[in-house]
């Protein structure tokens, strides 16, 4: 499984060009918002999972069906 880059570096437009601030700051804010959303989703998932992952996995045993 490849790990895909998700978090983007923080910080503003430091290339010194004379471009208006809004665009990069806007894009950056959006990226931060995305990271924040993902973080809160992963926190929520963490909060609902049984805390002992290994026990949960090992405890899940079925007999054959079909």
């Amino acid at each position: 499984m490849s790990t895909q880059p998700q978090k983007r570096p923080q910080g503003g437009n430091d290339d010194g060009a004379a471009s208006p601030d809004e665009t990069p700051v806007g894009a950056n804010a959006q990226a931060q918002k995305r990271v924040g959303e993902l973080d809160s989703l992963l926190d929520e998932i963490d909060s609902v999972l049984e805390s002992n992952a290994e026990e949960f996995v090992k405890g899940f045993v079925q007999k054959g069906g079909e």
Binding site: A53, E54, G59, F60
Partner: protein, 497 residues
């Protein structure tokens, strides 16, 4: 066949976690789970008012078989309704267990593998004409099904073995298939099962029973799964040339493909050469598009299915899965596992990733990880919540399911002992009048009205209850009574059983 009956049977995994204590074993949890069902129908194998079948299978698997559907969205709605029905039963089981002093949480998992490698299925049934040439069917359909996992697999975190490190694979079921075609299910799992119970006129139809599929959580993935399979069957039935992809070793191929997320694994074609799953699927897609150009689309979702089919193949062959990670189960799950692994610095074999793989399939609306992704708007859907809830109580309107639903709900409202199965409809006191409804595509039949008429004139005494009224009944919603008897009737009110 312009209209085809399709049904899906889903076996759910069941587990109980007792918090501080050891959880109850699955067979005991299943008994609690089916307590309301047993009380309602005096059996743990019943047809319910939405005309689907709810039962406890071998090995204490709760199982739900959708009613006959001739519309893909009806089918997906009925299948999704099955998840909510199981959840409703799980909540009641939890409460009953707590009363008996067993605290903890009941988990119903719509997946296909447990921690010890036991597997259980998601079986698809497609009604096909009896005249379909079976050899042609199998030479086209087997390679399609062997490679279909790259489109609609549910994804699996495969634990480490002596031979391989822990890794992610396309399919839950691929490693559990032992044969291409046979009549067995538990002894030896074939991709296509030849058990031919058409539940209809066997001179006209046969049932194609496909047991290779993974249980899907995503409605979009489900649409592609049933939609593409139906299109391939249409080509088989029409007799058009579809190409020669017959595999030298279908079982070797299905495993080989599942474990290669790069999509570059090749498989041997019997009549020479090697191809990747993407090659085979791309050619089938191309043929299907040509077929639809020449014969027209037989339903309104065909173009959407083609678009998904193509986009998924492109994602696999390019290695960039981002374009499908809101639509296709294996890609949605893979992305989530990557995000969690990244954040926590977890290795591939970490128990938390294995747990997430299972929790993705938890049917609980607020705890199941797929459902959490959906509530955060991170996956695509095809149905609104109302339609799914409707499917919990209402049979599909355009197939025999409508008749079965009406028959059993009317008989219940009038307090008449009755039995139904896919074909048979019987009032216990009138065994000679038993009806066989052999046309699964027919939603109307005067014989049903005739048989129900023997219970007296009830036309103006039965009122169909609203969804709100049904929710207020003390029963699980799926078992709620559809009709209310509003006036005097020669039969007593149904006994509360």
């Amino acid at each position: 066949m312009d209209r085809r009956v399709i049904g899906v049977e889903t076996e759910f995994g069941i587990t109980h976690h007792g918090g501080e204590h050891r959880g109850l074993p699955p067979d005991e949890v299943a008994r609690y789970l089916f307590r309301p069902v047993l009380k309602w129908g005096r059996s743990s194998n019943v047809f319910i008012p939405n005309a689907s079948r709810l039962y406890l299978d071998v090995g204490s698997h709760p199982e739900y078989a959708t009613a006959e559907c001739d519309d893909l969205l009806d089918l997906i709605a009925s299948d999704r309704a099955g998840e909510l029905i199981m959840h409703d039963l799980a909540e009641r089981a939890e409460a009953a267990m707590a009363q008996d002093g067993f605290d903890g949480s009941v988990y119903l998992l719509k997946n296909n593998v447990d921690s010890q490698g036991n597997s259980y299925g998601s079986h698809e049934n497609y009604l096909i004409p009896r005249t379909t040439h079976f050899r042609r069917l199998s030479t086209i359909l087997l390679p399609f099904l062997v490679t279909r996992q790259i489109l609609v697999g549910a994804g699996r975190m495969v634990p480490a073995t002596d031979e391989a490190a822990a890794h992610y694979a396309f399919s839950q079921r691929a490693d559990h298939m032992w044969e291409g075609i046979s009549s067995a299910t538990t002894r030896s799992r074939p991709i296509i099962n030849t058990r031919d119970e058409p539940h209809s006129d066997a001179a006209v139809h046969r049932r194609l029973h496909v047991i290779v599929g993974d249980s899907n959580m995503s409605e979009t993935t489900s649409l592609l799964r049933y939609g593409a399979t139906d299109l391939v069957l249409r080509m088989v039935e029409s007799g058009v040339p579809v190409g020669d992809f017959e595999l030298e070793n279908p079982i070797g191929a299905i495993r080989h493909i599942s474990h290669d997320m790069t999509g570059t694994a090749t498989v041997k074609i019997r009549h020479g050469g090697e191809q990747t799953a993407v090659d085979i699927q791309a050619r089938l897609l191309d043929r299907a598009r040509r077929f639809v150009r020449e014969n027209g689309a037989h339903h309104g979702r065909v173009e959407q299915i083609f678009e998904l089919w193509e986009r998924t193949l492109q994602a696999v062959s390019s290695g960039d899965h981002e374009p499908i990670e809101r639509d296709i189960d294996w890609a949605i799950k893979k992305r989530l596992l990557a995000d969690v692994a990244d954040r926590g610095g977890l290795e591939q074999g970490h128990p938390k990733l294995a747990q997430l793989d299972m929790a993705y399939h938890d049917v609980h609306p607020r705890r199941g990880v797929f459902n959490l992704l959906a509530s955060h708007g991170r996956v695509t859907t095809q149905l609104d919540a109302d339609r799914i809830q409707q499917a919990i109580v209402e049979p599909p309107k355009t197939t025999r399911a409508a008749l079965r639903g009406r028959f059993l709900s009317t008989a219940r409202a009038l307090g008449a002992e009755h039995t139904v199965d896919w074909v048979h409809h019987k009032l216990v006191d009138r065994p000679l009048d038993a009806l066989m409804l052999k046309d699964p595509l027919s939603a109307e039949d005067p014989r049903v009205d005739g048989l129900l008429g023997k219970l007296g004139d009830h036309a103006d005494r039965l009122r169909e209850q609203t969804l709100e009224e049904r929710k207020r009944q003390q029963l699980p919603l799926a078992l709620s009574e559809r009709y209310k008897l509003t006036g005097p009737h020669e039969f007593a009110e149904p006994p509360l059983i």
